[in-house]
Amino acid sequence: MSPEGLPSNEPLAYRGLDPTGLGRPQGTPDGATIGVGSKPLLEVCDLSVSFATRAGEVRAVDGVSFALGHGEVLAIVGESGSGKSVCAMTLMGLTRGPNTTISGRALFDGRDLIGASEAQLRRIRGAQLAMVFQDHQSSLNPVYRVGDQIAEQIRAHEPFVSKERALERAGELMERARIPRARERVRAYPHELSGGMRQRVMIAMGLSLGAKVLLADEPTTALDVTVQAQILAQLKDLREQEDLSVVLITHDFGVVADIAGRIAVMQGGRIVEQGTPTEIFERPQHAYTRGLLEALRPSAKGRPTRARGAALLEVDNLRVSYSTRGRHGAGIDALGGVSLTLAAGDTLAIVGESGCGKTTLLRSIAGLIEPQEGAIRLDGHDFASAGRRELAAARRNLGMVFQDPQASLNPRRRVGRTLERALRARGLSAAGARVRTEQLLERVGLQPAQAKRFPHELSGGERQRVGIARALAGEPRLVLLDEPVSSLDASIRRGVIDLLDELQAELGCAYVLVSHDFTTVEALADRIAVMHAGEVVEQGGARELLEHPKHPYTQELLAACPRVPGLPRGVASEAWLDKKTSQAQAGSLRSRAPLPAEDQARGAEGSPLRPPSSFSV
């Protein structure tokens, strides 16, 4: 595989940043633009994609235009349903079908991708135009070895290469994609690799025939922050060393900040704004962009340090190990002696990467896992020594909010019924439960009439509000929040975080928050515990820990967090705090002005803006 050489007469404008700023929209109606210069590698002009669904025609992409030069990274940023993935998949020819109407032009290296026949397109995709998908779990075929899957692609385009040679090349590619022990792992199955490695295999596969353009659709969204940082660094190196052009599709401005040469913001199928990172971050023109950026700011009251109350939850030297099948005695230590305390009305955030034991810890506290050693005391009652009945009573003081509101609400039950059942389980009469349900719904910012809705008739944010209402049904003193906003779009996240914050102030319940997102943690946490490999490596007051992390792991974790320039990821700025305080004083706690984007984003989520097949938009 030889990297495509860059023609020496290529205008500078196509090498990353556009110094003149001429790539900026100048009066084009939808703010979209075609880059200046002579020969862009990929040129998309007025691309529209609509899907015929039972509910009528849905236009997922609506007149999108952009250009991508050699060695350039273009980031397309938008929330779910904005059409960004459909856009990329259309370029790959993956949205073609009887129910799809595609119009516009997409020129790749002078060849038309939209009008190309399936056979012509097949020669381009995989060879010159490659794609990396979001979900590393399902993007590789589980029944074939990863090396074979790479070799398959090589041989599909170069049929005269022997299988042995193709496998050898697969090994080289995986080595270059920085997969440790790559030569051995050629023979590994996807499930034997970590998420980061699987994504690297996808990148190796994409580049196996010297692709000029890589379409990366949320390549790091499902990964841990430190792995995300590594993958992004790799993409950056590929751009610099091999002159690879990348279209990076993401919902996260933080991810694109220091890799993208240009950023296009998509909303409702259109590019609403396009420019260099400096322009987008410092002088966002469109209200939607401003809203998205606003949602990234540290939220609410940066949690003033308060006097700590009596301990509500005490976790003492907790040990949990899972026995692995077929092996005697030997188990995997999920928790190796964890001790924590949480005061009444406080929030303790547990941060760490996947596999660090944070979920196990949360489940142990919820009484779903029986620890091998150690004690969990809620209000002085020891879970381990408690009888069945006592345990049930103690659990009533516990509420839990789950990560995925879609999966954690019964899809066949109206949300009002879900709440009523939670209330009835705590001994309320049928009539009492109904009244309380209405109160709960109102308290979490929903209409009482929405009790009649089914979960799928609500937007993601609304569903999570129902999840919160359910957790609060028993007026618990402790609520466990398991990644409560990570499945939500950024603009909706803020509303849910604010709600959690208000509810805590109002009800005085304590939170244990598990999250990998420092914006969420910072907004809610009084104290933070950093976990790694089943142990708490550092804990302390939220502000101190974020400002002055002591443990190298914490430092690395914080450093790996993607951030937008100009926006402090550390601690809420004083000006921001002042603004928030005055807002809070001016009106009630619920006076939060809705973000301009929120309603639109919610509308999009509720609408059938999904193509008929299963790709996620």
Binding site: A127, S138, S139, N141, E535
Partner: protein, 344 residues
């Protein structure tokens, strides 16, 4: 702030490296797996024989002594038979005696006075011929129909195949068999009417004699398999890795065969194994009887009619054993088809 003095954790992908199991442990796994299956086979056989034995005790008119002594027998003769055959002993003794004979191959049919195991061995060739031929036909045609249906989902071919499949599923074997016998055998003389010819003595005769039974037995299964496979295929087609396969630039045929079909076959494999076991164990009673193949199923049907416990018990054991053995093979096939599956 309490920063512990734990060593700096590594942030690379290294720690989650797979535990590559050596060939040695893999073989050990297989041995353990097979040992467990053998144990479960014994348990299943024990349970099923006890149950069968008890059922025959409970059936009215099931007293074998009365039947064996004949209609005109005196009470003394009945008593003699009872003592001679051990029917006066407690049930568990009778059961143990019967099982002992079953195991050493000397069990005698109550009504025919023939050795049951020899009967069954001689009845196995037609049954195995039926199972193998029909199994291949319904698998191949079912997969073909399923593939065509799924790739033309919603189109006229899909709809036509759906109609064909549903007709096949709802067609009673004895009806279809009778129709085929009448037209193909009796009216047009295309195929022999009934009976079994051994493969070794006359291959062509074997083939022509088996053709109608194969078709009759396959029709239902073809319908079921093609519907099931169609659904599986459509599910797998929307998987992310199929999208990846297309994005790699593979031809549509390669995507379909290597990535879609391979991953859709799991459910079919299970079903096929169990259906095949069922036929081997004499489950195709109707087909065997309609075409008078003289197989295990027909023997079982006749024995049930005579309330003859020993043959019924042996045939039941054969079915159970076939099911356990085939499902073991299915599980091994599963582990070969899907590397994520571990035998346990």
């Amino acid at each position: 702030m309490e920063a512990s003095s734990a060593p700096i954790p590594s942030l690379t992908d290294g720690p989650r490296a797979p535990r590559v199991s050596s060939a040695m442990t893999r073989q050990l796994w297989l041995v353990r797996f097979l040992a467990r299956r053998v144990a479960s086979l014994v348990a299943v056989l024990f349970a099923i024989t006890v149950l069968t034995f008890l059922i025959f005790q409970a059936i009215p008119g099931g007293d074998p002594a009365l039947r064996m002594a004949g209609r005109l027998a005196t009470p003394q003769q009945v008593h003699d038979v009872r003592v001679q055959w051990g029917f006066d002993k407690p049930i568990y003794v009778q059961y143990l005696k019967t099982m002992e004979k079953v195991l050493d191959g000397s069990v005698i049919s109550y009504s025919q006075q023939t050795n049951v195991e020899q009967e069954i061995v001689s009845d196995l060739p037609p049954t195995i011929s039926l199972a193998l031929g029909a199994g291949v036909i319904w698998l191949v045609v079912g997969v073909l129909f399923g593939l065509l249906s799924a790739t033309h989902a919603g189109g006229w071919l899909d709809r036509a195949l759906t109609v064909v499949s549903l007709t096949g599923i709802s067609m009673p074997v004895f009806f279809l068999g009778a129709i085929m016998l009448y037209w193909l055998g009796y009216q047009w003389h295309l195929l022999p009417l009934e009976g079994y010819v051994s493969l070794t003595s006359d291959p062509w005769g074997w083939f022509t004699h088996m053709l109608m039974p194969w078709v009759a037995l396959s029709v239902v299964s073809i319908g079921v398999y093609s519907r099931l496979l169609r659904a599986n295929l459509l599910d797998v087609m929307s998987e992310d890795y199929v999208r990846t396969a297309r994005a790699k630039g593979l031809s549509e045929r390669r995507v379909l065969i290597r990535h879609v079909l391979r991953n859709s076959l799991m459910g079919i494999v299970t079903l096929w194994g169990l259906d095949f076991a069922w036929v081997i164990g004499g489950g195709a009673i109707l087909v065997e009887s309609v075409f008078n193949l003289g197989g295990v199923g027909q023997y079982a049907a006749q024995s049930i009619g005579r309330l003859d416990i020993p043959p019924v018990m042996v045939v039941t054991m054969l079915v159970a054993a076939a099911v356990v053995v085939l499902s073991t093979l299915v599980d091994i096939a599963y582990a070969l088809l899907d590397p994520r599956v571990r035998l346990s």
